[in-house]
């Protein structure tokens, strides 16, 4: 079973906390034993209370003193045990989370691009949380529960065998009843969650597009649909909630029967003079209560544990994913001049779907290269390869005649300044988003960069200027403003080479022209790769690479390519002729 390997991995993680674990287990044993011992001592004390004038208070005091010691030790053992369990569970999860995040920084893009970010987040956050919860519950309840059951049986046997048998035989009935109800209500819960899912999808759709709903005066219709689903949900919920809530009364009913059975057999054997004292009877009754409790809990804990093992497995899957190959000890790129060579490069994301085939391009230092072509022709893929977000399947890419697969990724990526169509901003101030945590940057430098990127004018109108805090993913900024901020980052400390992938697609054409001027200044002496749809961006390029189906089919300047009358001209006319 796959579960076993996950459990082994979990145990390996716990190993770091072995001393704590041992302490916790020993304390659990002690506290269970002491908890069970207490009713016996109290029972003995009660046995001394016989009839008026015959109570032996002399003999009772040491008993009560012992009881007090037992109580004190139980409480201390419980507290330290809880503390140890918390420590183990929370630290194991903390370690796992840190490890998972560390892994995140090293995972290849082939992993990241094929796994939804929501899925990865839920592994690191909620799966880890559920795992911690399960681990904690496992330690505190499962372990002590089992020990309590075993201990109780032993203690009861020591008092009276017959009554113990009665208890042991009847109690599993409550487990059986609980299981019966759970299996019956399972279908009802499934029905409930399916209707609930339907309702959530409907709510999600309507509220997300509430403005359209109102613009089309569609509120009455959507209210009607909502009511219909809501009524169905209420019906399903009532069934599920009610039938599942009969579990507790039913198991309690069984427990009460056990209690009555103990009282009956106990009282009868006390009468028969079988050596059972009243103190013994009171101890047995108290055990009957304690014995049934862990049974009810354990059935819940087992589901909880299964769930937590499943969660741990998902987390381990992430932690054990294959990382990018290490580049330790590789050369670093320094003082890059900007000569880029692409030689016979082939690449595909999926083995049997060829994308780039035998591509060769030479770019001289300082050249401006525009890449154009229809959607899906491989423009963005080429950029993924230049940045080494993906590795080529065959062929080589060189920078300054060094194979980029033989230099460190950091030094390669630091040589490029990159602005993508998909803007990324983090929750934080505007300034943080521009400097991205780089230190030793003065306000004047930030403002100069913002002016160059034409973002200064909108930033200064924000409530707190450069200190305005923006929410996750840019909060209230428009798409165009977000792009301006991303451009500002590059303007701050421009690296020797630039990659602009549709960097100005959401900026209006007039502002774009101004930014282009700034870019033009920036691009002087810098090799740059530009992916764009707009003519204005492309026309000025030294070389235009026209890509189609993963190949460069035409190459040249704007005027040359127009004159050649090939694919570029068709593309150009379909885009810009009106």
């Amino acid at each position: 079973m796959n579960n076993t390997s996950t459990v082994i991995k979990v145990l390996k993680r716990i190993k770091h906390y072995l001393p704590v674990l041992v302490i916790s287990l020993v304390l659990a044993l002690i506290s269970v034993a002491l908890t069970l011992l207490l009713p016996i001592i109290i029972g003995d004390a009660i046995d001394l209370i016989t009839s008026p004038g015959n109570v032996d208070t002399e003999a009772m005091l040491p008993l009560l003193y012992n009881a007090a010691v037992v109580i004190a030790f139980t409480a201390i053992a419980q507290w330290i045990m809880n503390y140890c369990n918390n420590k183990i569970a929370y630290n194991v999860v903390k370690d796992l989370r840190a490890q998972a995040f560390e892994k995140l920084q090293k995972l290849p893009f082939s992993y990241l691009d094929t796994h939804s970010s929501g899925d990865v987040v839920s592994r690191i956050i909620s799966d880890a949380d559920q795992f911690a919860e399960g681990l904690l519950l496992g330690f505190t309840q499962f372990f002590t529960g089992i020990m309590t059951i075993i201990g109780t049986i032993v203690f009861m046997l020591s008092i009276n065998v017959k009554i113990t048998l009665v208890v042991v035989l009847i109690t599993p009935l409550s487990l059986f009843v609980a299981k019966f109800i759970a299996s019956k209500t399972y279908a009802m819960f499934k029905a409930q969650s399916s209707v609930r899912g339907e309702q959530t999808a409907f709510i999600d759709e309507m509220i997300n597009h509430q403005k359209i709903v109102q613009a089309f005066n569609h509120t009455d219709e959507s209210m009607e649909r909502f009511d219909e689903i809501n009524d169905r949900l209420a019906k399903c919920s009532l069934r599920a909630v009610f039938f599942s809530s009969t579990t507790n009364p039913s198991t309690r009913f069984i427990n009460n029967l056990v209690y009555a059975a103990v009282a009956l057999t106990g009282a009868l054997s006390a009468l028969a003079g079988g050596g059972l004292t009243i103190g013994n009877l009171s101890a047995l009754l108290s055990y009957a209560n304690q014995y049934t409790k862990p049974f009810n809990e354990i059935s819940g804990v087992i589901t909880e544990l299964q769930n937590s093992i499943a969660c741990a497995a998902r987390l381990f899957e992430l932690i054990e994913a294959e990382p990018e190959p290490s580049d330790k000890g590789f050369d670093t790129l320094e003082d890059v001049s900007g000569e880029v060579g692409v030689k016979n490069v082939s690449f595909s994301y999926v083995p049997d779907k060829k994308l780039i085939e035998d591509l060769s391009v030479d770019v001289k230092p300082g050249q401006r290269v525009a890449i154009v072509g229809p959607t899906g022709c491989g423009k963005t893929t080429l950029i993924n390869l230049l940045m080494r977000f993906y590795d080529v399947n065959s062929g080589t890419i060189t920078v300054d005649n060094k194979d980029i697969s033989k230099v460190t990724r950091h030094s390669l990526r630091a040589s490029y300044g990159m602005v993508l169509q998909d803007t990324w901003l983090r929750a934080g101030t505007i300034r943080d988003n521009i400097t991205l945590g780089k230190e030793n940057i003065t306000d004047a430098e930030v403002i100069a960069a913002a002016k160059a990127a034409h973002s200064h004018s909108f930033i200064k109108r924000l409530p707190n200027g450069y200190d305005t805090v923006i929410g996750e993913d840019g909060g209230g900024l428009s798409q165009g403003q977000k792009q301006l901020l991303c451009i500002t980052r590059i303007m701050l400390s421009p690296p020797p080479m630039l990659i602009l992938d549709e960097a100005t697609s959401s900026i209006d054409t007039r502002t774009e022209i101004r930014i282009q001027k700034a870019f033009a200044k920036l691009m002087q002496g810098r090799t740059s790769f530009i992916v764009a749809h707009r003519l204005s961006t492309i026309k000025e390029a030294d070389v235009i690479l026209v890509m189609k189906d993963g190949n460069v089919i035409e190459k040249g300047s704007h005027t040359e390519l127009l004159a050649a009358g090939g694919f570029y001209k068709t593309l150009y006319n379909s885009q810009f002729a009106g």
Binding site: L61, N86, Q105, S117, Q214, A215, F216, S237
Partner: protein, 575 residues
């Protein structure tokens, strides 16, 4: 809280019955130790077998009665909890239907969704638990105390001292941990935030070589979260040992004082056992009560969040000024300014223009210049901060929003279709439209081929958000949806950006030749889309910086000329 409590109204019967039945069951539980005491005192001491049988039969009877009463209680409480939450969900959804765009902007959709789903679920659980257990536990605790008094007043005094101490201990620990748990949750939010940010920004992070600093940042939050968690755990771990000590010390005192009193002949042995049993019951109930209180506080927090939504009021203004302007304009702006809620500056300033019936008005301007804001004022989605927006000569604030919006067809920037069939989507425009009407609209919107290309034509399935259609297809279908309405005013808010120039041109001429001649507003970034409009409004940073025809603006509006040249070159080499 008062608003939420009102929702309990229809379920008063259940809300009284559920705890009542639960209490009766608890009363049966409380009599069990009395029966045991009777068995010991009367049965075993006197050797009366028949009496023991009888009393054990009473125990079984009590168990059966307890089962019957508690299941009845569960039913009433489930009915009330499910019913109330269903009503609440409906009320929240209905409230959202009434909110104006300003509120929708400020509240945010994702939080509205969690409130109507998971928050209300929490309330349902909380209410269910409250009805079943909140009264039961204190009842058992105090009931046990009262029963103890009936057995022996002096012995019961131990209870009277122990129970308040217990309550103080339990509440002190809970009060201390509650804010800590909130902190734990907030710490988790931060860890989540960093993780999510890293995944969405992985290309930028790697391009800027920020892996190390991101890991450090994560480690810091992760460690902080861990230490708060440990601290909270340390304190909540006290709950069990502390209650254990208090109860069992009380037991020792009980047994000892009991022993002394039995010795004096004031009490019997069975009574001491009964008192001991009551103490044990109290321990069990207190542990239940503690976990119950945690769920209830959660539910109360959720109720607060739901109530916040119910408290929202649409901020749209309404005036009773029904005077009709003398101008014959279909749409007229009189010195209109707009400022969004919480914004530092006006988004539109002092805009005035007239659109006569059947005219085409183009609106152009840079990123964030206020183009969409302007057209959103026509259907009264937002209130003008100053000035008046008139439709058919009447201030939009004086027109019933339903009537106003019936006149207007709007095609938003983001092309959105709803789950269902194409026909269902088209019927949003006009529920009574025939297939012929729909096809006319589709033809004008250049979307007929989209429908024809799908299996099932109008009955073709549309997936959520219309994701089985391309951007251009979605845009044309949303235009068709607006056209099935046969609106008097049609607003295209940058809604042909994904169409190529030729299709865009065909679309415009088809709309122009519609028999009902809508007054047309076209918002666009492309001058080619609005060049042929009767009038073009040029916006720059929320101000109107030019209005006129294409030729007029080329001659005297600097901004317009720059926009045009940026798209077509200085000499219009490709125009």
């Amino acid at each position: 809280m008062r608003k939420i409590l009102k929702f309990l109204n229809g379920y008063i019967k259940e809300i009284i019955a559920a705890p009542l039945f639960k209490l009766i069951e608890a009363a049966f539980d409380l009599t069990v130790p009395l029966v045991i005491a009777a068995i010991i005192n009367n049965g075993i001491k006197t050797g009366d077998k028949i009496y023991i049988y009888k009393m054990c039969a009473v125990l079984v009877l009590l168990a059966f009665l307890g089962l019957a009463f508690s299941i009845t209680a569960q039913f009433f409480s489930a009915k009330a909890a499910v019913g109330v939450s269903s009503k609440l969900r409906r009320a929240v959804f209905e409230k959202i239907q009434d909110l104006s765009f300003s509120e929708l902007d400020t509240v945010g959709t994702s939080t509205l969704i969690t409130r109507i789903t998971s928050d209300i679920n929490q309330i349902q659980n909380g209410l269910n638990l409250t009805l079943r257990l909140l009264l039961r536990s204190p009842f058992i605790v105090f009931g046990a105390m009262i029963m103890a008094f009936t057995i022996d007043v002096q012995g019961a005094l131990v209870f009277a001292v122990a129970i308040p101490i217990l309550l103080i201990a339990v509440f002190a620990i809970m009060l201390k941990t509650m804010p800590l748990f909130k902190k734990v949750q907030a710490g988790l939010d931060r860890v989540t935030g960093i993780t999510r940010e890293n995944l969405t920004g992985v290309r930028v992070i790697r391009a800027f070589c920020l892996e190390k600093s991101e890991s450090d940042k994560f480690k810091e939050s992760n460690d902080l979260q861990n230490s708060i968690q440990q601290f909270a755990g340390k304190i909540s771990a006290l709950l069990n040992p502390v209650t254990y000590i208090i109860i069992n010390v009380a037991v020792i005192v009980l047994v000892y004082t009991g022993a002394l009193r039995v010795n004096l002949g004031e009490l019997e042995q069975g009574d001491v056992v009964a008192l001991y049993n009551y103490m044990a019951q109290i321990l069990v109930e207190l542990i239940k009560l503690a976990s119950l209180i945690i769920s209830i506080t959660k539910a109360i927090a959720c109720a607060g969040r739901v109530e916040a939504v119910l408290d929202l009021e649409s901020s749209l203004e309404h005036t009773d000024d029904t005077s009709i302007s003398s101008s014959k304009a279909k749409v007229e702006f009189e010195n209109v300014s707009l400022r969004y809620k919480g914004a530092g500056a006006d988004s539109l300033e002092n805009i005035s223009f007239k659109a006569m019936p059947g005219e085409t008005i183009g609106i152009i301007g840079g990123t964030g210049s206020g183009k969409s804001s302007l057209v959103n004022l026509i259907p009264h989605f937002y209130d003008a901060a100053a000035g008046r927006v008139l439709v058919d000569g009447k201030d939009v604030k004086s027109i019933d929003p339903v009537l106003l919006r019936d006149k207007i067809g709007i095609v938003p920037q983001k092309a959105v279709l709803f789950k269902g069939t194409i026909r269902e989507n088209m019927l949003w425009g006009n529920p009574d439209a025939t297939d012929a009407d729909i096809y006319k609209a589709l033809e004008a919107a250049q979307a007929k081929d989209v429908v024809d290309s799908k299996d099932g034509g109008l009955d073709a399935e549309v997936e959520q958000h219309g994701r089985n259609f391309s951007g251009g297809q979605r845009q044309r279908l949303t235009i068709a949806r607006a056209l099935t309405k046969k609106p008097e005013i049609l607003i295209l808010d940058d809604s042909s950006s994904a169409l190529d120039y030729a299709t865009d041109a065909k679309l415009r001429s088809a709309v122009k030749s519609l028999p009902y001649h809508p007054t047309l507003f076209i918002v666009s970034q492309r001058t080619s889309s609005i060049m042929s409009a009767d009038r073009i409004i040029v916006l720059d940073d929320g101000e109107l910086c030019g209005i006129g025809t294409h030729e007029e603006l080329l001659a005297d509006c600097e901004v317009y000329r720059e926009i045009h040249e940026s798209q077509f070159g200085k000499e219009g080499e490709n125009a």
